[in-house]
Symmetry: C2
Subunit: 87 residues, 2 copies
Amino acid sequence: MYIILVYDIDQKRVGKMLKLCRRYLNWIQNSVFEGELTEVKLKELLLKAKEIIDPSYDSIIIFSSRQEKWLDKQVVGLEKNNLDNMF
Amino acid sequence: MYIILVYDIDQKRVGKMLKLCRRYLNWIQNSVFEGELTEVKLKELLLKAKEIIDPSYDSIIIFSSRQEKWLDKQVVGLEKNNLDNMF
């Protein structure tokens, strides 16, 4: 599945969440990630995420599409993940 | 088209951008919006956005899908737009 994940997490917990998401997905903007994941891997990621977040303050939204070709992406302004791709 | 829009905009300009996006889409998280837009309306939104942003600092990413049913959405933790829906 093709995944877009966006989160809004309190600063106290955001570092852990960033690290977790980068292990599964590509960082493309501030709190936005995308990438191909199997359903099993997505479940694994969400289980780990639930251990990090405080569900009464933090929020994670996951959009998934069975095929990447069903989604078009357009960037206006800066492509913030350029640096990310170098590592 | 079904649109997901995420932005990362400097605080000086973010208020204007928020106001603009809310005229076209539903706010669902911090800097994330979704909704159905025609191609013409999306172009209109992006033209206006380009007048607001500084393309050397700010970034907008737009994912679009021809059909909403091609996209699944899952929320973990708080649904931050609950309040938004009331107005």
